[in-house]
């Protein structure tokens, strides 16, 4: 669907005909997507349409049923005859950052330890260096003063910013954000969106699932609309959100206007 051909290294994530079934429920029914380096790709769609499943497939938290995918220089085929070892999967995941709706910070670690954990345990980065980097990341998300605080003493917005810093600490090729503001009190949404906005300015490649349409219009490079496991329409934020062609997208957006 891309109009002009792209140089291979201009594309950070390339997904082809990806499907995911749970028994005989097909949650993702053949999705293809190109995400360019440094761009924020937004994904919108009604509840249950398969957005989370799609995102989790990209991180191999779910094993796709068929299709193929490339992130950076790592290409993977799914389906019969294609099995990855646990080590290969782990290595792949370490290059893909994931932020969850419910934060899932490690409760037995301080904010700083949460951010250090990936580099130290997975990448075997020296402690001093990991701490240095973690401190810088906490400062970047505006939480330098919370470094020694345990997650239960953080507000939802602060916890989510720590979770973003934790994912960034792995220096991922791409960040996956799954409705990261949906569990927050309305007054805390802004501080998290501000951090994501900052990341788009810095050219972080991201795939963002969200219901924040105003935010999508403001920062998305491209948007896709998913419905019932399929991508029904894709384009720039303006094209998709202001001049939707697909009738299902039109009715989906109408619900947000009211």
């Amino acid at each position: 669907m891309m109009s002009e051909p792209l140089a291979a290294d201009a594309v950070m994530v390339e997904v082809k005909d990806l499907t995911k079934s749970y028994g005989n429920v097909e949650a993702v029914k053949g999705v293809s997507l190109l995400v360019r380096r440094g761009e924020a790709q937004f994904v919108i769609g009604p509840s249950g349409c398969g957005k989370s499943t799609f995102l989790r497939c990209i991180n191999l938290l779910e094993e796709p049923s068929s299709g193929s995918m490339r992130v950076g220089e790592t290409a993977i085929e799914f389906g019969r005859g294609h099995r990855m070892s646990a080590r290969e999967q782990a290595r792949f995941r370490s290059n893909v950052g994931m932020v969850f709706q419910q934060f899932h910070l490690f409760p037995h670690m301080t904010a700083l330890q949460n951010v250090m954990e990936g580099p130290v345990t997975v990448k075997r980065v020296a402690r001093a260096q990991a701490r240095h980097q973690a401190e810088a990341l906490l400062a970047k998300v505006g939480l330098a003063d919370k470094r020694d605080v345990y997650p239960r003493h953080l507000s939802g917005g602060q916890a989510q910013r720590v979770a973003i810093a934790r994912a960034l600490a792995m220096q991922p090729r791409v960040m996956l954000l799954d409705e990261v503001t949906s569990a927050l009190d309305p007054e805390l949404v802004g501080e998290v969106l501000e951090v994501i906005r900052q990341l788009t300015f810095e050219g972080m490649t991201m795939i963002v699932v969200t219901h924040e349409m105003a935010f999508a219009r403001e920062v998305a490079a491209r948007v896709v609309f998913m419905d019932a496991g399929l991508i029904l329409e894709e384009g720039s934020a303006e094209e998709l959100l202001d001049r939707p062609r697909n009738p299902r997208l039109q009715s989906f957006l109408r619900r947000f206007r009211n």
Binding site: R93, F100, P107
Partner: protein, 219 residues
């Protein structure tokens, strides 16, 4: 009718009491520790999806949790040597029942402790690229052990009380010492009261510890 209490007879055989105390403590500590180790191993197997190994372990755990310990002890003491055709020493046979009993409960505590950790913790650890062993060591076990300590302490308290059942197979523990003294003095009220006090003195500190651990709120 007036009963005249005479607690002085309790102190008739201090040497026997000392031995009884030592026997009770050794059995309690040894079978608790051995049972814990057994329980950890069994709990791990139950958590793994290794069905061929896991189903007999499930069977063992269910069986020992659902039958009276007294029968287990008696069975190991009298029947096991016959069944395996080996003359295993009496002290070992008596301890085996207690150990397997502790092992079954520990396995379940361990399994339940791990399972109680939120799925999101596993996902977050996997998303960072951790291998299963790293996830267990860094993320799951540190959280799960805090939850498992109170039930483990409770189970150990029960285990120490349960050693009193060893007296039925003539292991000279505290309970057995008391029973002998009763048949010598015909003073069961004083002696069983004293026994209760002895067990209380041993177990009260452990109970307090369990309470403290439960109230700890760091996770």
């Amino acid at each position: 009718m007036e009963y005249s209490w005479d607690f002085s007879i309790v102190f008739l055989r201090p040497g026997n009491w000392a031995r009884g105390f030592a026997v009770t403590m050794v059995y309690a500590v040894a079978t608790t520790v051995a049972g814990l180790v057994l329980g950890l191993v069994c709990g791990m197997v139950m958590l793994s999806r290794h069905t061929i190994l896991a189903s007999p372990i499930h069977g063992y755990v269910q069986f020992f949790r659902s039958t009276p310990l007294l029968i287990q002890i008696v069975w190991f003491y009298y029947a096991l040597p016959v069944v395996i055709g080996l003359n295993i020493p009496a002290w070992l046979a008596a301890g085996l029942g207690l150990t397997l009993y502790m092992g079954a409960f520990s396995a379940e505590i361990f399994r339940a402790g791990i399972m109680s950790i939120d799925k999101g913790q596993w996902q977050a650890a996997r998303a960072l690229g951790m291998m299963p062993v790293q996830m267990m060591r860094r993320i799951i076990l540190p959280q799960a052990t805090r939850r498992m300590v109170p039930p483990f302490v409770n189970q150990s308290v029960l285990q120490l009380k349960n050693t009193s059942l060893l007296s039925v197979v003539a292991v000279p523990d505290l309970m057995y010492t008391g029973t002998l003294l009763v048949s010598e003095t015909f003073r069961p009220l004083e002696i069983y009261t004293a026994l209760a006090v002895f067990y209380f003195i041993i177990l009260y500190p452990l109970q307090r510890l369990a309470k403290l651990l439960e109230q700890r709120d760091d996770v």
